[in-house]
Symmetry: C2
Subunit: 260 residues, 2 copies
């Protein structure tokens, strides 16, 4: 049976890698990559560094271009745009698996952070396997190797515990935060916020803990009262993004930050 | 300056350890432990295994007994009981740090999973440092090393992505879930549920993905429609807990599981 591994490689620091991830990398006959445009060079560099360091005797990488995606869609059109883009991506993945994996071959995807948070690879693979089996193929095994998420890296950089005593934590997106801080959760981690939504929140008594390029030499951290530091974060973020050509950032919003 | 490291060692699999965690372990002069009663033997065994494997030339461990805690409190009394127990625990930690760390000494706590989720160590240390500085001490540096959380381990074991496309994920406790599935979040990870709260939820069209002793040879996984598998989970859980003397489990509840 063919096997496809989805390996979490951590949030940017090569030393976020786990021993389990290294063992999984050593099982792979081929590494599948997706060309990510602007982010590509840094991503490819980290991947190359990890493979050079941990996989002896060389390795094989097969890359596919990332399909175009409508990034201007909003509302339900946003969801449709993402699903459409994922469907086209699935076609590329399916072709790579069919072309590159022998009967007992092992392929691997290296993904940022942890495969279970805001990464679509596992969903795509499950869909491809389903389609393969539905058309008479024998499918393939899927394995997921957990990693240090950018959420964990953010918390560590700020020495934070995400939850308060007995409390909940919501992990959400910038798009959803645009509707305002949720009423019944006081600790909110926000991912994928290209629009600096935090800066438009009117809330007082909310602290923000923000981080970009977490775990890398370019890591930037800003924290403080949301209303007092939001302009600084917007400024720092725009400058960093212009300099590097891309940015990955995340943050925690904490209501009533004085409470344990 | 003295330094205290809080090192996430992953959810139970020794290979969840990161290279960053190993580097941090090698910086420590002393490892602080807390006697956890029933869980103690397994916890101490994993800690010993990790230290034996990764820290050359021997290591020093100092243990303190864990203070008694009122586990029957509920409502606001629960929060007070946890805070009271953490305050007494803080006294023990403060004494260990004062007694065992020289002027530039490095101490370390090894914690399950990731230090930022439902682990109080960072909060206790911040409080101890504050009290130390307030009484004329020079305090100490605190560093946090992220790890693979039990949430990530649960997701990997079930090959799950926790969020749906563009959706949110709530991480909460069994106590809070007792009020019912939240209305506006469809993916809910539940920790610290000693009362099998899931079994009392009336909801249809909810899937559960449950795991215990994640990442260990004792790992148990059950998943399916909540109403169909809840009795099996309660049964399996009770049996496992009786056999081992303790259990650590977590689960995802997913409303409308057919949707991407």
């Amino acid at each position: 049976m063919r096997t496809v591994l989805v390996i979490g490689i951590g949030a940017g620091d090569p030393d976020h890698l786990t021993f389990q991830a290294v063992a999984a990398m050593r099982r792979a006959d081929v590494f599948f990559g997706i060309d990510k445009g602007a982010v590509k060079d840094d991503l490819a560099a980290l991947r190359g560094e990890l493979l050079d360091r941990h996989v002896e005797g060389g390795y094989r990488v097969v890359d596919a271009p990332d399909p175009e995606r409508d990034r201007d869609a909003s509302g339900t059109a946003y969801r449709d745009a993402v699903l459409d883009w994922q469907d086209r991506r699935a076609g590329l993945y399916a072709a790579m698996i069919a072309d590159e994996l022998g009967p007992d071959g092992v392929g691997a995807f290296l993904v940022w952070g942890d495969p279970s948070l805001y990464d679509g690879t596992l969903r795509l693979l499950a869909g491809i396997r389903e389609a393969d089996v539905a058309t008479g193929g024998e499918g393939f095994d899927i394995e997921s190797v957990p990693g240090v998420s950018s959420v964990a890296a953010l918390a560590a950089a700020h020495r934070l515990i995400l939850n308060r005593v007995g409390g909940s934590v919501l992990v959400t997106t910038g798009r959803r935060l645009a509707a305002g801080m949720p009423r019944d959760v006081d600790d909110v981690v926000v991912m994928l916020d290209g629009a600096t939504t935090f800066a438009s929140l009117p809330d007082d008594d909310v602290a923000i803990y923000w981080g970009a390029y977490l775990g890398t030499p370019d890591e930037i951290l800003v924290s403080g009262d949301l209303q007092k530091v939001k302009d600084e974060i917007v400024r720092v973020r725009a400058r960093a993004r212009e300099r590097k050509g891309w940015i990955m950032d995340t943050y925690l919003l904490r209501r009533d930050p004085g409470r344990r």
